[in-house]
Symmetry: C2
């Protein structure tokens, strides 16, 4: 985290860019660029993009639209644009996600860029979306994608941010682990659908915020009823009491709202869950952090 | 659990008895008796009572209304009534909670009675309600009460039930631990207030149900705006997709609804969270169970 960052003083604007995603990758990149520029012009210091914003959300498309993020430059025009914009506009970008090619594997990957344009973190979706609700919704990301193997939390100019992608939000342990590591904000690019959206989208993000007493921001693609996978939309910002601060419907929109981190301390003073937890009865083990400590 | 219990076949009616609680203990006991009898007459096989149903909810009242549950008989008229009714009516009763005196300590305690009238489990509230929201809600149970030191899960004729009392529901770890121990249903007698009720009551019970993919039932006292502590009401039954199956407003009411445990398996097949968890990244340790296994 920037040495000057003080969470109890921090107020800034976040933008959730709920974009329509098409099958034209070049258009998607131009479209995302415009949305980010508009958000920055309106004062956003943190911009969040949707899950899989440069490609249709389908197993057929992932290999075709995938980019080699580590190679960078021409091998990854989507993230090159994010890097350029974050530096030029001096904003932090949580770049939704794109299909990533790495060797012979594909991932669903979120890149976080700092105000200097540098790639600060790369989160590969940990929990792949494999569900089967007969007659309603069937999808199996694991047919083409490989799961990431690490939680991702990153210190930025706008606080300590934990990253999850879509289905990752269903696993409360990940959010608990981020809260325990000191996150102020959890960002979930996500494309819930017309079945899981009404059921769980708002409920789960409010629950993660209320339980962790921190901010949660989600960003979905806009709904395209002609697409193979129809997104729920409803990009939302939730505060540390589980209250919806800002949201939108399913059309294209840029949600811009202020985040005030001082609310986190206030909520935790009112309801001191952290001190009241019963470590003599239950403990969440953060396996990677424990292993790091054991090898020190 | 009864050897004949098969969760995938089990359907039964639950009753949530949202009762008005007065300062007249004898009246409260008679009143609870009537509510339970009415619920059983309407086919309920499981009856849930509110938190602190035999006494006003106040630190002044707890010592005065407390009973010695272990001594039983005349030392605990409230639980003697529950035992008698569960045997006579052949129902399972999750007896809300009452102030319990044990030696020189007081607890907020829930007793579970089987269809044979026997006390099957006794849960002492683990997380005491100590909160301070200036100008809105201040309460400190720990001024008079001692916290329990054990999770409580019990096999009954109507499934495996995890018990929490009110503020216990705010701690997701307890619900996770019960789910991991195979609970079908979590019962939370609770008396949220006019501040925490609108904020968290429905949200948190829906989240516990959706995350654990199990049933959650809550039961509150009816609202008495003349009481020192004004309860939110809204006793509710939630299903394993986080859906509200039945609820009520704040007046006296007996909510009766069918529980169908086959929905649990169905939900878990559709969304196989349990198999998809990443034990390589996070693990919830059930401390007492681990210690039991270590000493075997």
């Amino acid at each position: 985290m920037a040495a000057s960052f003080k969470s109890d003083e921090a107020r800034f604007k976040i933008a959730l860019c709920q974009m329509l995603v098409t099958s034209d990758k070049e258009r998607n990149i131009v479209h995302a660029r415009k949305a980010i520029e508009e958000a920055a012009n309106k004062g956003a210091q943190l911009v969040l993009l949707p899950e899989i914003w440069n490609s249709p959300y389908s197993n057929d498309s992932f290999p075709v639209y995938a980019e080699d993020i580590d190679a960078g430059g021409d091998a990854s025009p989507s993230t090159a644009m994010l890097s350029e914009l974050s530096r030029n506009l001096q904003i932090t970008i949580v770049g939704g996600s794109i299909p990533e090619r790495s060797g012979d594997k594909l991932y669903n990957t979120c890149c976080v860029f700092g105000t200097d344009g540098k790639l600060k973190a790369k989160h590969r979706k940990i929990h792949l979306f494999d569900i089967d609700i007969p007659g309603q919704m069937t999808f199996k990301e694991s047919l083409t994608l490989t799961a990431g193997d690490s939680p991702t939390i990153v210190d930025t100019d706008v606080g300590r941010i934990g990253i999850g992608i879509c289905y990752d939000i269903q696993f409360q342990e990940l959010a608990m682990l981020y809260a325990a590591r000191g996150a102020h904000l959890l960002c979930y690019p996500g494309a819930f659908n017309m079945v899981t959206g009404p059921l769980h989208w708002e409920l789960i993000q409010r629950a993660r915020a209320a339980d962790g007493q921190l901010f949660v921001a989600t960003c979905s693609p806009a709904r395209d009823t002609n697409a193979g996978y129809v997104a729920w939309g409803h990009s939302t910002l939730v505060g540390p009491f589980g209250e919806v601060i800002a949201t939108t419907e399913h059309d294209e929109a840029i949600v811009i709202e202020e985040i005030d981190y001082s609310l986190i301390d206030q909520r935790r003073t009112f309801l001191p869950f952290q001190k009241q937890r019963r470590g003599d009865l239950y403990q969440l083990v953060d396996v990677q952090r424990r292993n790091t400590e054991l090898t020190k």
